[in-house]
C-alpha cells in the first residue's frame, strides 16, 4: 500500500511535495553535474567513494605498471606501450621505433629501412633480433629483417619491448646489440568490429577491417585485413625514386582456454605486396658498367604459429611454440624460403630464492635462390638446421634488494658449429624508487648466407688489352662468428612522483668483425665471354670497441601533459688486423650511425576529447656517405568521440622536406630522400561488447 501511495503522490503531488521533489532534483542534478565536471577535469580525488560498478568503468593508464616492470629489469629496456603507439602518429613499425633512445632508425627509401642498436647500421643490419609474439622474423639469408613485410595493424599491438645490448643468453645468436619484441593483443582485447581508413600524400591509402568475437565460452578470435598504398619518395637526383609500393595482408589470432591451467593461441597471416626498387648493377660481362635499373618486385608469404602454455600450481609454467613461415621475394635473388621453428620454455621457482627459466629450440630452414650476374649465392639452394638450449637463473642474494641473474645459451649452427653465450646481471634496489644494475655478456653473430656464399659483382671494366675484368665480393665458407663482449651499467630512479629517469651506459668490444680482403684473381668462362675476376673475399679481420650513454626521462608535467626527452651519445673505434688490406670497412662501419641523437615527445590532452602530440628528433650526421644531420618534427591532432570514433590529422617530417637519412653502400641500392608528408585517419570501433 505504501508503494501505491508513493506512486500516487508522485503522479499528482500536492504543492508542498512538489517543492521538496524539485529541490531534491536540483541537489541531485548539481551533484551529478559536479561529478561529471570533476571527472572531465581530473580524476575524482577520492575514488573509494565511487561504487564498484563505477570503478569498473574508469579507464586506467597502465603507465605505472610499465614503469614497475621496467624498474625490475637488469637491462637497458624500453617499452613502447599501446598508448605510445596511438599517440605517435606512426603508420609503420620503423617509424614507431624512432622514439627509442639507443636505436638507429634510418629510412633508405619508401619500402626499406636501416635499423640497428648501438652502431653498425645498414639495410641488413645483422646484430638486432626481431621477434613477433616470440617468433623470430630474422632472415638467415642476410641476418637482417624485411621491415616492409612486417606491416601488421598497429591497432593490434599490445606493446613493443626493446632491449638494447646483448640478449644472446636468452634469445640466442644475432641478438648482439639488441632485441625487439613485438607483442600483439590477445583476441579478447579486440572483440567487436574495427574499421581504420585514411590517406595522405605519402601513404596515399591505407585501411584495416577487423572483426573479433567469441566462439563458445573459452575461445576468442579476430580476423583482419589490411591494405597499404605507399607513394614513391623522391630520389637524390630524380623526382621519382621508383620505390612506391602496395601491400595487402589478411591475418587472424585465436586464444582458447583449454582448462584452468592451459591456454592455446594460434596466429597467422598471409600477404602479397609489390614494390619498386632502383638498383645499380652490372648486367653484362661484355660491357661491365654499372647500370641503373628499375624493377618491380613481387613479394608474398605468410606464417602460422601455435603457442601452448601450461601453468602448474605455485606459479611455474611451460610454453611450447611451433611455427611455420614461408616467403617469396621476386627481387634480384628470387628467393623462396620455408622455415619451421619449435621452441620449448619452462619456468619455475626453486628453493625460495631462485627463479629458473630454461628452454630448447630447433629451426629448420630451406631456401632456394636464382640470382644473376650482379648478385647470386653459391650454392643457390641450402637447407640449414639450428639447435639451441638455454638456462637462466635469477637468485635473490638479499631478498628484494640484491639479485643476480646468470644465464647461458648454447647453439649449434650450420656454419660454425657450437657457440656459447653467457651473461651475468646484477640488480641492486637500494630503495623502492631506485635501481642500479650492471651486466657483462658475451654475444655471437653467426654467419649468414651472404657472408658465406655470396657472389656480388661490384664493378667492372674492359682493359685495352685482354678480357673484361669484374670486381666481385665473394662469400667465405670459412667465415667466422663475430664475437662481442659487452659491459653495461644502468641506473633508474623515480625522482619525484611525476618524474622518472633512466640511464644506461655500455662498453662493447668486438672481434672478428667483417672485412673484405683481395684474393688471387681467376678466369671465369660462365657466363660468356671469358673474363677475369678480381675477388674480394669476406673475412673477419676487424676489431674495435663501441661505447656510449643513453638517457631517457619521463615527466608528467600535469595530469594532461607528459614530456619525454631523450639523448644518446655513441663512440665507435674500429681497426683492422695487421695484414688486412681492407680500407673501406672501418670508415663504413664507423660512419654508419650518428654520434649524437636527441628527441623530445610531448603528449597533451587539450580537452577530454581532443589530444595533441608532437615530437622533435635530432639525428647527427653520418660520416659514411656524408649524410648531413637533420631534425625531424612530427605532430598529430586527434579528436575522439566516445570510445568508438576517432579522427587524426598527422604531419610528418615537417621541418626538413626531402632530407637524406641513410647512404647506400656497395651492396645496397641508392638511397632516396624522405619528403614532408601529411595524412588523415578515421578509426571506427563498433559493437564492442
Amino acid at each position: 500500500m505504501r508503494h501505491l501511495a508513493q506512486h500516487f503522490s508522485y503522479r499528482s503531488p500536492g504543492p508542498a511535495a512538489t517543492g521538496i521533489l524539485k529541490r531534491a532534483c536540483v541537489v541531485v542534478l548539481l551533484a551529478l553535474s559536479m561529478n561529471m565536471f570533476a571527472s572531465a577535469q581530473a580524476p575524482p580525488a577520492d575514488l573509494s567513494k565511487l561504487s564498484v560498478e563505477d570503478l569498473m568503468n574508469i579507464e586506467v593508464s597502465s603507465v605505472s605498471k610499465k614503469e614497475q616492470k621496467i624498474s625490475q629489469a637488469a637491462a637497458a629496456i624500453f617499452v613502447i606501450t599501446k598508448e605510445d603507439i596511438s599517440r605517435s602518429g606512426a603508420l609503420n613499425i620503423p617509424d614507431l621505433l624512432r622514439m627509442v633512445p639507443g636505436l638507429n632508425v634510418a629510412q633508405i627509401n619508401a619500402n626499406t629501412w636501416a635499423i640497428s642498436s648501438r652502431g653498425f647500421n645498414g639495410e641488413f643490419s645483422d646484430e638486432l633480433l626481431v621477434l613477433l609474439d616470440g617468433r623470430s622474423v630474422y632472415i638467415p639469408t642476410t641476418s637482417g629483417v624485411f621491415w616492409d613485410v612486417l606491416d601488421i595493424p598497429l591497432e593490434d599491438l599490445e606493446r613493443i619491448e626493446v632491449i638494447r645490448g646483448p640478449g644472446g643468453a636468452t634469445w640466442g645468436a644475432n641478438a648482439v646489440n639488441g632485441v625487439i619484441n613485438i607483442i600483439t593483443k590477445k583476441a579478447s582485447a579486440t572483440l567487436g568490429g574495427m574499421v581504420v581508413a585514411g590517406g595522405g600524400n605519402q601513404t596515399q591509402e591505407f585501411g584495416t577491417v577487423q572483426y573479433g568475437a567469441k566462439i563458445g565460452q573459452n575461445t576468442d578470435y579476430r580476423v583482419f585485413s589490411k591494405y597499404l598504398d605507399e607513394d614513391h619518395q623522391p630520389g637524390l637526383n630524380a623526382p621519382d625514386g621508383g620505390d612506391g609500393w602496395h601491400a595487402l595482408r589478411a591475418g587472424f589470432r585465436s586464444d582458447s582456454q583449454l582448462s584452468v591451467s592451459d591456454d592455446l593461441t594460434f596466429t597467422g597471416d598471409v600477404y602479397s605486396a609489390r614494390e619498386g626498387d632502383i638498383t645499380n648493377s652490372i648486367q653484362s660481362v661484355a660491357s661491365p658498367t654499372l647500370q641503373e635499373t628499375f624493377a618491380a618486385t613481387n613479394l608474398d608469404g605468410g606464417y602460422l604459429q601455435a603457442d601452448w602454455n601450461h601453468r602448474y600450481a605455485g606459479g611455474s609454467d611451460s610454453t611450447l611454440q611451433v611455427s611455420f613461415d614461408r616467403y617469396r621475394r621476386n627481387d634480384v635473388l628470387r628467393e623462396t624460403r620455408n622455415t619451421l621453428n619449435i621452441d620449448f620454455e619452462d619456468h619455475f621457482s626453486w628453493g625460495g630464492h631462485q627463479d629458473i627459466v630454461w628452454g630448447l629450440g630447433y629451426r629448420f630452414s630451406s631456401s632456394t635462390t636464382d640470382g644473376d650476374l650482379s648478385f647470386s649465392l653459391n650454392p643457390p639452394d641450402l637447407d640449414t638446421q639450428l639447435f639451441s638450449g638455454f638456462v637462466q637463473d635469477e637468485f635473490a642474494l638479499i631478498p628484494t634488494r640484491l639479485s643476480l641473474t646468470a644465464g647461458m645459451k648454447v647453439e649449434h649452427n650450420y656454419y660454425t658449429g657450437f657457440g656459447v653465450m653467457p651473461t651475468a646481471r646484477l640488480a641492486w634496489t637500494p630503495h623502492e624508487h631506485q635501481m642500479v644494475w650492471a651486466a657483462v655478456s658475451r654475444a655471437l653473430e653467426t654467419p649468414s648466407s651472404t657472408d658465406t656464399a655470396e657472389n656480388l659483382t661490384l664493378s667492372g671494366f674492359v682493359p685495352p688489352v685482354g678480357p673484361p675484368v669484374l670486381v666481385r665480393i665473394v662469400g667465405n665458407p670459412a667465415f667466422q662468428n663475430e664475437r662481442h663482449t659487452a659491459y653495461e651499467f644502468g641506473y633508474r630512479t623515480q625522482l619525484l612522483k611525476r618524474l622518472s629517469l633512466d640511464l644506461a651506459t655500455y662498453y662493447n668490444s668486438g672481434h672478428q668483425l667483417p672485412t673484405t680482403e683481395p684474393e688471387a684473381s681467376f678466369i671465369e668462362t660462365d657466363p660468356p665471354p671469358v673474363h677475369l675476376v678480381l675477388p674480394l673475399q669476406n673475412e673477419n679481420a676487424m676489431y674495435g670497441e663501441t661505447h656510449g650513454v643513453e638517457i631517457f626521462a619521463s615527466w608528467k608535467a600535469t595530469d594532461r601533459w607528459t614530456i619525454t626527452p631523450g639523448y644518446t651519445y655513441e663512440g665507435i673505434h674500429l681497426h683492422v688486423d695487421p695484414g688486412s688490406q681492407d680500407t673501406q670497412s672501418v670508415p663504413a662501419a664507423e660512419g654508419s650511425s650518428p654520434r649524437q641523437w636527441a628527441r623530445v615527445d610531448s603528449h597533451l590532452t587539450v580537452v577530454h576529447s581532443l589530444a595533441w602530440d608532437a615530437s622533435a628528433n635530432f639525428v647527427g650526421r653520418l660520416a659514411s656517405g656524408a649524410v648531413p644531420s637533420y631534425t625531424r618534427v612530427d605532430t598529430q591532432l586527434t579528436w575522439r568521440r566516445g570510445e568508438h570514433v576517432s579522427v587524426s590529422i598527422v604531419g610528418q617530417n615537417l621541418v626538413r622536406d626531402e632530407h637524406l637519412e641513410f647512404s647506400s653502400t656497395a651492396d645496397e641500392g641508392p638511397s632516396n630522400v624522405v619528403k614532408r608528408s601529411a595524412y588523415a585517419k578515421l578509426t571506427w570501433i563498433f559493437t564492442r561488447p
Binding site: 499528482s12 580524476p43 564498484v52 563505477d54 570503478l55 579507464e59 605505472s64 576529447s609 566516445g642
Partner: protein
Amino acid sequence: MKEPMNLARLKAWWLAVLLLMAAGAPRALKGETTGEYDVKAAFLYHFAQFVEWPPEAFHDAKSPLIFCIIGEDPFRGALEESVKGKNVGNRLLQVHHLKGREQIADCQVLFISSGEKKHLGEDLAGAAGHPVLTVGETEHFAEDGGVIGLLVENDKVRFEINVQTAGKAKLKISSRLLLLAKTVIGNED
C-alpha cells in the same frame, strides 16, 4: 488548476535532464584515464566491505582491519589515501608494508603486486590456513590459488574470484561482489 500542471511538466523536464545526466556521467568517466593503482586502491577498499571475516581473524572487537602490501609498493601512497580515516563496520583501516612473510597472518587483506610474480607460491603459502583475503594482479592469480585477481582489460579494471580459496580461508564473499566478478572460479554448481 493551472499551476500544478505546469509544475508537473517542469518536473518531467527535470527528470528527463536528470536521466540524461545520469546516462552521461559514466560515459564522461570512461573517456578519462586515471592512474591504474589509484583505481586498484579504491577496489581494495571496496573488497573489504564485501567480505566477512571469521571472528578469529581479529584479536578483539576493536582491532583494526589491516591491509598489507608485500614486495614493492606500486600504490605509492594511493592505498593509504584510499582507506585514510575510514571504517569497515567498527574497525579502523590500516595499511602495513610487510618486511617478511611471517607477518602475513596478522593481515586481513594481502596485496601481492606483479613484482612478486616470482615469489607468488611462497606468498600464497604464507597466507594459507589464515583468514587472509589475498588480492593479486599477476596473470591467473585466482587460478593459481589467490582469492581475488585484478586484471586490466581494455584499459578497465576487472576482477576474478576464487570462492574455493575464499572458503578455505573462512572468508564469506558477498553475492553482490560475485555478480560483478568477471569470472568466479571453484563454484560447486
